[in-house]
């Protein structure tokens, strides 16, 4: 027994070292090396550019905001001295996020099904969505607001919105950017990711790509 235990300890010590080197270093480093050669774009985050500059990732949603301008004509700052922002109506707006679209500190919103706090958040999201879009689409009612527009995603960086969500916002975008609604709808369909292989997942409109094509079509002055 004692002999068996000694032998196990020896084999065990060698095994954990060998396995850590092979599985913990050689394997991931080899995958990294191959990926950096064969799949350089996707291995480094599927970055997308506009005007020659990287502005984000195709896969990671981001905020489209503008500074809040106070009565004195200057940007309002919060207690920590950061400039306060609000959704910029000139861009398609993504889904609500628990993390403010953080790409390096992620967590779930964890709104429970019977949470009174969540009810208040849904009310606010619903109200601000309707307030933002109704001036440009007088027939808009609360019943037409799709559920993705008022609920938080899991990742906090959902890159997509639903097609219904994009079509409602299209009225606002067409008006504020001064382009025909038909043109905006065309851009939406160009930037819709269909189900993978036509069947897997859900279709979604990629908000960053859509906003980039808006900038190309009708740049903000």
């Amino acid at each position: 027994m004692a002999h068996g235990l000694r032998k196990d300890l020896l084999t065990g010590v060698i095994a954990i070292v060998v396995m850590t080197i092979v599985l913990g270093l050689a394997y991931p480093l080899a995958i990294t090396g191959i990926s950096q050669v064969a799949f350089k774009g996707s291995a480094n985050g599927s970055k997308v550019s506009f005007d020659g500059k990287v502005v984000g990732s195709h896969l990671i949603g981001q905020e489209f905001t503008e500074p809040v301008i106070g009565k004195n004509g200057k940007p309002v700052k919060n207690e920590e001295g950061e400039v306060e922002t609000q959704p910029d109506p000139n861009y398609f707006q993504p889904r609500p996020s628990a993390t403010g679209y953080s790409g390096n500190v992620t967590f779930f919103g964890n709104a429970g099904p019977n949470s009174a706090e969540a009810r208040e958040e849904y009310r606010e999201e619903l109200k601000s969505y309707v307030d933002e879009n109704k001036p440009y689409d007088h027939t808009l009612t609360r019943e037409q607001v799709p559920v993705d527009a008022v609920t938080q995603s899991a990742s906090g960086v959902d890159p997509d919105i639903s097609e219904a969500n994009a079509q409602i916002q299209a009225h606002r975008i067409a008006a504020v950017r001064g382009i025909p609604l038909a043109k905006v709808e065309e851009l939406i369909s160009q930037n819709t990711d269909n189900r993978s292989l036509g069947v897997l997942g859900e279709p979604g409109v990629n908000v960053l790509e859509l906003n980039i094509s808006l900038e190309e079509e009708a740049p903000l002055k």
Partner: protein
């Protein structure tokens, strides 16, 4: 809705089609036969034995020697992983300059990964170096999975052995499982995931100037190499805190389908392997059928439930019906690209297997939808379950069912020609009851004392109760998914561990539960294997109760539900079911 069911059907068809070829391959690996990879890997395999000083031609280990090797191996790795987590400050591949987190968190995380649980109080991208993720955690994703499979293989050998006490050689089993199964599949799978957008690099986080003039920091890292084995080995610990909902872990409907298949391919194929090794495919299919029925019922329940909104959404006037261009349903805590169907299917798969990776937030599921993960865990991870662990636990239930069935018809209980006697039944009962007991004691302790209260996010209400119960249910069953509001770690200045601290009670209790509920049942299983090994095989006669027909399948399902339901039903009523039955908000 049609598209949703179509995707579930596609998943099932692909899975079932893969079971036979993968099952045959696994059997060849376990039987130390040649495989199509032997020409490539045979030399490496022999070299490994020489380095490890293992004699593959030896006479094999009895159950005690097999168990001793397993415990020594796991204990040594526990120590190494703990050291890795405690020395982050001096490690290479640390572009963010992270230091180590609190010791009690390291205790919990170490126990979590050694036991194939991957419960995460920490957030990967905000606390861990790339070195710790690769050389610490991802190594355990391979190794803990291999240990689970090895115990299953030892049990099967005990069941079929006609003479002698040998259950095989632990070291040889681990080497072959890693070399012929987990590593090659991970290499192929990782490269596929990278091609689809899952990141794989060692770079510093990227600072982006966004389109509207803001700033966004994108975490980077060697994700794909860890993602693939996390699903394949039923580990589940995300590189990112939000796990497989983060697009850099799971970028599209296609990667989502691929990762779901990775989670189930080994546990499902092992039933075929089992049939092949015991010499009767029908035995394997009978167990597969029982597992599949319990699985698919859960899928349908959670999918139907999530197509409805929650009481909070209804109260706020949110319109949750599906219409053209909108998925409808409870999209809170879900990604648009997965929608309701793929999130529901994933939720069922990750909780029947012991994976615990999530692509949506469990805490935001509807009451009835959320009852499905609870129910799956209540059945002690025997519905497919963890790689190896699921089937060896299910075989304990099979023996229990044989025993109870035998008593009902007045026969001496026999399984595959071997008499089931007092010693086996005592060990089986201990193995079956240990995990539920660990859950009830630990979650009871946490919910009855002030010590557990600090971990709650939702407060004192049904959702808070669910958080606490699920935390210990998940840790004891080595699953790792969570009602993620529940916490044992607070990190005021993320990213980075400056000023971070753990909730010691939650970390230590959880760690102890994971370790005991992993290794105690393993020892009981190996003891059962030892008791069965070398028993005489009596030929099946007219009086033998069959274990490969529909009657037995339903008897087995009944036993699994009975044990799980009797143990947990009262507690589950107080959590998700209470949420599901009321429109009240808390």
């Amino acid at each position: 809705m049609f598209e949703g069911y179509a995707q579930i059907a596609i998943f099932v068809v692909i899975l079932v089609a893969l079971i036979k070829p993968v099952g045959i391959y696994l059997a060849r690996v376990f039987n130390n036969e040649r495989t199509f990879l032997t020409p490539v890997l045979g030399g490496i395999e022999r070299g490994t034995y020489r380095v490890l000083r293992v004699n593959p031609e030896g006479e094999g280990q009895d159950w005690k020697a097999y168990a001793r090797s397993l415990i020594v191996f796991s204990l040594l790795f526990w120590i190494l992983l703990y050291l890795i987590l405690r020395t982050q400050g001096i490690q290479p591949f640390n572009p963010e300059g992270f230091h180590s987190g609190p010791w009690d968190l390291s205790f919990n995380t170490t126990s979590s990964f050694i036991t194939n649980t991957n419960w995460q109080y920490y957030g990967g991208e905000t606390t861990l170096t790339y070195f710790a993720q690769m050389a610490g955690l991802a190594v355990q994703n391979f190794v803990s999975a291999a240990v689970g499979i090895a115990v299953l293989v030892a049990l099967i050998r005990g069941i079929i052995s006609r003479s002698g006490k040998s259950l095989g050689n632990f070291w040889q089993d681990i080497v072959r499982i890693l070399l012929y199964v987990l590593l090659p599949m991970s290499i192929v799978g990782a490269l596929f995931l990278v091609s689809q957008g899952v990141i794989q690099n060692l770079s510093h986080a990227t600072v982006i100037h966004t389109l509207s003039g803001g700033t966004q920091v994108l975490a980077q890292g060697p994700v794909a190499s860890q993602e693939v084995i996390k699903e394949l080995g039923n580990n589940g610990g995300g590189f990112f805190n939000v796990n497989s909902s983060f697009p850099f872990e799971n970028s599209s409907g296609l990667t989502n389908m691929f990762e779901m298949l990775l989670m189930l391919i080994i546990p499902a194929s092992l039933t075929y392997t089992y049939g092949r090794m015991v010499g009767s495919q029908r035995q394997g299919w009978a167990i597969f059928s029982a597992m599949f029925i319990l699985f698919i019922v859960g899928v349908i329940v959670v999918y139907m439930a999530e197509q409805h909104g929650t009481p909070a959404q209804h109260a706020a006037g949110v319109h949750t019906t599906a219409f053209h261009g909108s998925t409808g349903g409870n999209l809170e805590g879900k990604e648009q690209r997965f929608g309701i169907a793929d999130t529901s299917l994933w939720t069922a798969i990750t909780t029947v297997t012991s994976t615990g990776a999530v692509n949506g937030a469990f805490e935001s599921l509807t009451g009835i939808g959320g009852a499905v993960p609870f129910a799956n865990l209540s059945m002690s991870e025997v519905v497919f379950g963890g790689v190896g662990a699921g089937l060896y636990s299910m075989l304990l239930y099979v023996i229990l069912a044989v025993f109870i069935g035998g008593l009902m018809v007045g026969r001496t209980p026999e399984y595959l020609g071997k008499k089931i006697q007092a010693r086996e039944i005592k060990l089986v009962s201990l193995g079956v009851l240990f995990t539920p007991l660990a859950v009830l004691l630990s979650s009871g302790l946490a919910s009855a004392t002030e010590l557990g209260k600090r971990s709650l996010y939702a407060g004192i209400n049904p959702t808070g109760f669910s958080e606490n119960l699920y935390a210990y249910l998940s840790q004891a069953n080595n699953n790792g998914s969570a009602w993620a509001g529940y916490t044992g770690f607070l990190q005021p200045h993320a990213p980075g561990n400056v000023g971070a601290f753990g909730i010691t009670f939650a970390n230590l209790l959880g760690g102890l539960v994971m370790v005991t509920a992993r290794f105690a049942p393993m020892l009981f299983v190996l003891a059962v294997a030892g008791a069965l090994a070398g028993k005489k095989v009596s030929p099946a006669g007219l009086g033998t109760m069959r274990t490969d027909n529909p009657t037995f399948v339903f008897l087995l399902i009944g036993i699994v539900i009975l044990v799980g339901a009797l143990t947990f039903f009262p507690a589950i009523l107080l959590g998700p079911i209470a949420n599901g039955l009321t429109g009240r908000l808390f």
